[in-house]
Each structure stands twice: as C-alpha cells, then as structure tokens.
Symmetry: C2
Subunit: 128 residues, 2 copies
Amino acid sequence: MPSDEIDTPFAFDGLDRVFHERARLGIVTSLAGQFDGLLFSQLKKLCGLTDGNLNRHLSVLDEAGYLLIEKCHDGKRPQTRCRLSDRGRSDFAAYLTALEEALRQATRAAERPEPLSPNRHQLREHPA
Amino acid sequence: MPSDEIDTPFAFDGLDRVFHERARLGIVTSLAGQFDGLLFSQLKKLCGLTDGNLNRHLSVLDEAGYLLIEKCHDGKRPQTRCRLSDRGRSDFAAYLTALEEALRQATRAAERPEPLSPNRHQLREHPA
C-alpha cells in the first residue's frame, strides 16, 4: 500500500471524479458495453438525462480524452455517436478496481463497526 | 425491477449523491467503522481533507440528517465529534447495496462489450 494510502486510508484518491460522478458513471457504463458506441438519443434514454445535462457530461468526458465523438446523419437529421476511447476504456477499468476496493472498505466498516465504548455518552441528534 | 429502471437502466437513481461524492464516501466510511464517532481532527487526517472541505461536506451530511455532532473540550481546546445517526447508518447500507449493483453492471459492461459490427467505420479521436 503506498504511504499516502496509509496516512489517508479514506481519501479514495483512485476514484477518478470524471467517472465517479453519478450521471457520468451511467454514461460510461452504457458506452463500455458497446464497442460500436451509442447515439446521443440512445444515451439520453438509457441514462434518463436531459439534452443539456448529457451534453455537459459528455464535454467533461471528452476533455479528459475518454471519448470518440462522430457527427453523422440519419437521412436529413444530424446525429452524434459517442464511444469510449482506448484510454477511456483502460482508465475506466482502473476506476472500477478502485471502486471495488472502496466498496469493500465501506462494506466492512458498515458491517463491523468498533463497538461504543462504555464511557462515551450519547451524542445529540440536533446540536444547538 | 421497477419500470423506471427498465426505461433508464443506467440512471443509477439509487446512488444517493450525498454519499456518492468521493470525499463524503470517505468521511462516511470512516464514521461507519466507529460507533463512537471520530473527532474532526481524526476525520481530517483519515480522509486527507482541509478544514474548509471537511466542514463543507459535514454540513451536507448533517443537513441530510445523517450525522450526530457533539461539541466537546479536550482541556482548553474545543473539539467536534461526529458520528452517523441511525438514519445515516441505514441509508448508507442501502447506498452500498445500490453501489454494489452499479459496480456489477459496469464491470459486466466493461468486460463483455458488444463487438464492433463489421459495417461501422472508425470514429475520429478528435472531431473537427
């Protein structure tokens, strides 16, 4: 374990915020399952996002170098197709490994907390 | 599976943003492991946060009803002790169940993507 993980075991630095944000986790999961990528309209539906939100999150992913974006046409209608870049795919795999470890730590903590010591008094629910 | 999960399988609505944000996931994991709670100074160190950031995230958790906060003294120095409320503990358990399912979906997608169809052309890495 690197020394910074010993000093700050719950900093979870491996959880790349670009992937970790909930909407982007959904977008990247959708794209990870499709080598061919997905149309903007398909992503919107799968992730339950508005045009504006999806555009904003795709920009973040694109700026990180995680996307390949293609403008295409379906008859007269312009369409946007997105897929993960090789870097997006490999960095997402590393993120998932970090997430698995964070989940393991959190589950262990939640299931087996240190017991309440007998000399500790009750904390107030709503401090004044 | 509820109908909205069928319609939007990657919306990940069960991932409560109060817990999901990376720093707060570290804070709540730290607290979940201690029925007694932790001092502000201990949380800062475990999570690698500044005073300002820790304060900001504790406020979000407190507003959601997930914390018990106690002001105490160590000799002359005022101290703050935090621990998870019963609601914080039970909602965190539900969040961890949702996170486990999201991780399972993401890992499955990343490991077994649909293959590239032969009639799809290569997407541009940096579209004009």
